[in-house]
Symmetry: C2
Subunit: 213 residues, 2 copies
DNA sequence: TAGATTGTTAATCGATTAACAATC
DNA sequence: TAGATTGTTAATCGATTAACAATC
């Protein structure tokens, strides 16, 4: 059954799940006990029908006439998203961006724990930032395997991203979040989410250029 | 006619345009003179049909039997995206992330120029990073108007994002790229692109959790 | 019970893909 | 000319929205 349930969901649904989860966390902090799909829709900006539809991909979480119990739905989403456990994260590249990520407090709360960092600047190797040790880039495979890294975050300069992705493929890491622009298609079996500054800015440029219409 | 042409394009097309543009730039550097939709499809990973379809929203840029002239298509995309000119960018928040953005060399090349930065840490105000002056947060409206800022980049800690978006609405800035998680819906007329670390990581978590299926 | 709201099916809308006549 | 490849229309696929019976 499980394999059936999770088969084909709309691509954007995963992003909406994160938004629902975050919103429910906020509601719980505010001691809200229950919420209807309509009320939730007012907060997140999607339609109530879409929210209900989205949830049906995973089960039934509400009560007709009553709405959803905030903490029940939250806990279910937590499990669906897969953050009812912690994931081990390796940070590759300890420049400004890398250090911004290391010092980002939201990580632990969200069940992603940076366990090691890599750089090939000799001045950085062996140092600790926020208690995370920086290793030499050539020890990537060794350390990643030893520490059981699930996810790699790429914060390296433009140009070297593709090379590192290839090296990562060899370590068994199956999920990567890259802040470095990549030009090659990701290797088979590796999921790569790209945060792409140019693409985001160019989206804004397009919007501004075609505003009058 | 223009107003007709740009009316309703698929949401994801804008992102693909950026990918085409970047790829064509690379091809031009490599002295490739012309390329077919099929060859391009092999590089970017979308289908040839989609590439041709995407381009028809904006005009006819190829020659049947011949393909596309790399530099002609590139120049057209440049204008379509709106980067045949420069946009003035204000950086809000000069922490690690802010400084990573300031030192990112890709900016100028891509026609986005950081013209000013804001922070409310007294130690930072008045300083210059990469020749960009940091102003006090309360002078945001004044400076942004004076400098003709088009786009604001939000690199502030979690929690303050919503407040600053509201302030920005008053300055006339219509496009924002936010690295800070926002919970409120953006004000009318303001386009906000969010780079959301939690959402990206949770997407990976979902993928890893449902791998076997 | 009456009112509210879910879960789900059917209808609509939008985006992608296939196919091919036009044309270099 | 023959072969290649575009631009575009029609067919398909997928995602969203509307509607409503079921149910609390």
């Amino acid at each position: 059954m499980k394999s059936d349930v999770f088969k084909k969901i709309p691509k954007m649904l995963i992003y909406r799940l994160s938004v629902y989860y975050r919103t429910l966390n906020k509601l719980e902090e505010a001691k809200t006990k229950s919420i209807s799909s309509y009320e939730l829709s007012q907060i997140v900006g999607f339609t109530a029908a879409q929210i209900r539809k989205d949830l049906t991909y995973f089960g039934q979480f509400g009560r007709p006439g009553k709405g959803y119990d905030v903490s029940v739905l939250r806990d279910n989403l937590k499990e669906i998203i897969g953050i009812n456990k912690s994931w081990n994260v390796a940070l590759i590249g300890v420049g400004f961006l890398g250090r911004a990520l290391i010092s980002y407090k939201g990580f632990r709360k969200q069940h992603f724990v940076i366990v090691c960092a890599f750089d090939n600047d000799p001045k950085k190797i062996g140092q600790r930032y926020n208690d995370i040790e920086v290793f030499s880039q050539d020890r990537m495979e060794e350390i990643i395997k030893k520490m059981g890294v699930d996810i790699a975050i790429l914060a390296v300069p433009e140009g070297v991203g593709d090379t590192i992705i290839k090296e990562l493929a060899g370590t068994g890491v199956k999920a990567v979040l890259s802040f470095s622009p990549l030009t090659l298609l990701p290797p088979e079996g590796m999921k790569v989410n790209q945060v792409d500054l140019s693409v985001e800015l160019e989206g804004l440029s397009y919007y501004l250029s075609h505003l009058e219409e």
